[in-house]
Assembly symmetry: C2
């Protein structure tokens, strides 16, 4: 995929999105986090954000029957072997492998390369896999991270998965809940690529199960029909039709999932009657993958805006409760009355601060949280803290937004100049 | 389609199947019908067969949105305009049109050509449309038969239908139940071809309704994605994929319905990058349509065998009832007792004549029929009548079967020599 990343504009792209991530990180620390801390946001709503939450790259998850070419596909994207890579006709990949750009070794200044085993991976704070430890040891011995230096991995991370087995073979127990792990991954990644083999289309029961495990994230799903050059055009149409037929039955949305047709490796085509189609499809897929950092940056920015609005509302609520507590006696009774009146307080605050009721946390949830809270630790509203967040929303975030949009305009301009991928 | 019909073997084909139909007709009249008459088969089971039941050709029904090219498709099959044909970009066909080979005019010896309006068509005993009169006058004024001399129509008949409208237009009431008419047709035809326009794929609500009206006959359904040369390959893949996706949701069978991809008219292709595919698909579709007479002959033969077995069993039952009626008094009481014991009589007869109980008519149905019957009109078993039917089953039908199979072997041989349609 390297040659798609290259080119004048594209080379700068990861930096831009990196600077957006860094910008957001700084804004969070200096402007939002103080407001969150002051009004117990982390107790009532959501834990504080780590650097890893801003730094983590968009992730692409590969899912498919064994031998559909998942590992080969990744090798084709990277144009390079990755540590621990195994490719072969029999079921080969037996681990979940997160393929990521190596960290810089602080001591030597070089990029770390090599394999981190699962147990070490889930205690690494700089990696987004800590929650996976709950899947237990059987799973952790089937999890690893491959670190390497690679241009593609500067913008995205990739997760290779063990091939899904069909028929007899699938009865061999994996020792961990494969579908649950898939669902966990599917929720966190930015793109799910389902691979099918045009030469041997086979949607087994276990594959159905895997599909069910990810289908609720259907907007993230893209499908690759691989090895399409191994069959002639008429056979290809039958296989592709059968695939769409089956997918339509499993995925309930009326929107048709995008299927990319081609052969994703560096070998010459067997039947090359559809070369032009395959090339156009590959361009489309690579453009989709390249758009992930842009989309991920936008999503992070969007998430931070949402969080900031909630943090403000939270400050209004908590300071109101503080202001309306008696200074001497009857604290417990007053607390209960305030919690009871919370819905009315919402309306009052919504009017006073001209804030939509939709921005307020769910009343019942908030009541539950407040019951456990110590109201004497609450404080009055700090106008200056609110002002800092307002400035962030109206000025700093807008600047970052402009940065992303300018980048996007450049990309579009470039596509316009080069002409569209298909004519 | 004419050039597909031609060639040494193929030229004889309609004759062979015609002679099978004639053979069956003669066998029915001389051997089976006397047994049916003697034991009241037509009262108890099913009306006597007409010549039309043996002569009617396999029928192909065209269904689709307006302007998908249904009428053009028929013109392309026939290589000739048909009487009353109208083709155009706006909704054009506003009638159900049965396109059939003209009868021979007894007086002049020439082939009848021209249009028979609906009201006249449904009283014509030689045509299989008499039951359509129940759909009422609004419908009959939208029904016609186009007769003409044409080689293709010697083996099949074709039914063109009004295009299905979408959106605003579909609210205009047709004045008759379109879906019900479609279901009636779908039940009787041998092949249902659903046409879609690759250039303007649009599965409206009313089309959904039409699909629902025919989908229970899913084994008869073939789909044509027409006008495929009007879009480039990548667009074609998207449209075709979307079609399969939607069809998979509507048709519940796991077996994928066969979709033929191409452009079915006599104009040059616009994008011709898929010429070879389109030609292979057309060959496949025409072979499928050509196989209809063979299949229809087999089906008729099969139906006659089933009918003969039932007629024999019916004769056993009726003659048993005759033999066990008292000659003088207590007729009514004896009749009731016999009807009551019918299940036991079945077992006795099944043993005596070494006939599977599965060949017997449903007990409850038969009881109902017998209650209304006059047992004094029954007669004893005629061994010679049974013998005639047995000979028909073991000798004559087998001969006709051989005829069909020999024909089939010739066809297969021819395909083998020419090589398969696709390589
Ligand atoms: N585009 C392609 N065309 C033809 N063959 C391919 C293609 N991609 C991969 N293969 C072959 O298919 C086989 C399986 O490839 P690979 O190991 O990448 O699949 P996988 O999906 O990772 O399998 P597993 O689930 O077992 O890990 C290998 O023999 C490989 O050479
Ligand atoms: N294979 C084809 N490629 C491109 N255009 C076509 C093709 N077949 C038909 N057309 C054009 O599409 C239009 C509609 O054709 P036609 O009248 O045969 O459709 P129809 O399905 O019978 O429509 P209706 O339901 O209104 O009767 C006409 O303008 C015709 O020339
Ligand atoms: Mg693999
Ligand atoms: Mg028409």
């Amino acid at each position: 995929m390297l040659r798609w990343l290259r080119g004048e504009e594209k080379e700068k792209e990861p930096e831009v999105f990196e600077s957006v991530a860094n910008g957001l990180k700084k804004l969070y620390k200096n402007r939002l986090r103080p407001l969150e801390d002051a009004y117990k946001f982390h107790d009532f709503h959501s834990p504080a954000l780590d650097d890893a939450d801003f730094d983590s790259k968009p992730m692409v998850l590969l899912v498919g029957q064994y031998s559909t070419g998942k590992t080969t596909f990744i090798r084709y994207l990277l144009e390079k072997d990755f540590p621990g890579m195994r490719i072969g006709p029999e079921p080969t990949t037996d681990c979940f492998i997160a393929i990521m750009h190596g960290d810089v070794d602080k001591a030597t200044g070089t990029i770390n390369e090599g394999v981190i085993p699962g147990n070490a991976l889930v205690i690494d704070k700089s990696k987004p896999f800590r929650a996976l430890s709950s899947f237990g040891n059987n799973f952790l011995s089937r999890l690893q991270c491959s670190q390497m230096k690679n241009e593609v991995l500067q913008s995205i991370s990739i997760i290779d998965t063990p091939g899904i087995l069909s028929g007899e073979k699938q009865r061999v127990n994996r020792g961990y809940d494969f579908s649950k792990v898939l669902t966990w991954m599917a929720e966190r990644v930015d793109r799910i690529i389902l691979l099918f083999d045009a030469h041997k289309l086979d949607i087994s029961d276990e594959f159905h199960e895997a599909l069910n495990a990810v289908k609720m994230y259907d907007s993230k799903i893209r499908v690759v029909l691989n090895k399409c050059d191994q069959v002639n055009t008429q056979q290809l149409m039958r296989v592709y039709g059968a695939l769409m037929w089956s997918l339509g039955k499993v995925i309930s949305t009326p929107e048709v999932v995008r299927v990319y047709i081609g052969s994703f490796w560096d070998q010459p085509l067997r039947y090359d009657e559809n070369r032009i189609l395959f090339e156009a499809e590959r361009n489309d897929l690579f453009e989709d993958i390249q758009s992930l950092p842009r989309n991920a940056a936008l999503r992070k920015l969007n998430d931070l805006i949402k969080r900031a609005r909630l943090a403000k509302v939270n400050a209004y609520i908590v300071s109101y409760l503080h202001d309306n507590m008696p200074s001497m006696f009857g604290k417990e009774k007053a607390k209960n009355k305030l919690i009871n009146d919370l819905d009315k307080i919402y309306v009052e605050l919504s009017n006073k601060y001209n804030t939509s009721l939709g921005d307020f946390p769910k009343v019942e949830e908030m009541r539950k949280q407040l019951k456990m809270a110590d109201f004497t630790k609450f404080r009055g509203l700090s106008e200056s803290m609110i002002k800092k967040v307002d400035e962030m929303l109206s000025r700093d975030i807008a600047d970052l937004m402009t940065l992303i949009q300018r980048e996007e305009a450049k990309m579009t301009e470039k596509i316009r100049q080069d002409g569209p991928a298909v004519k």
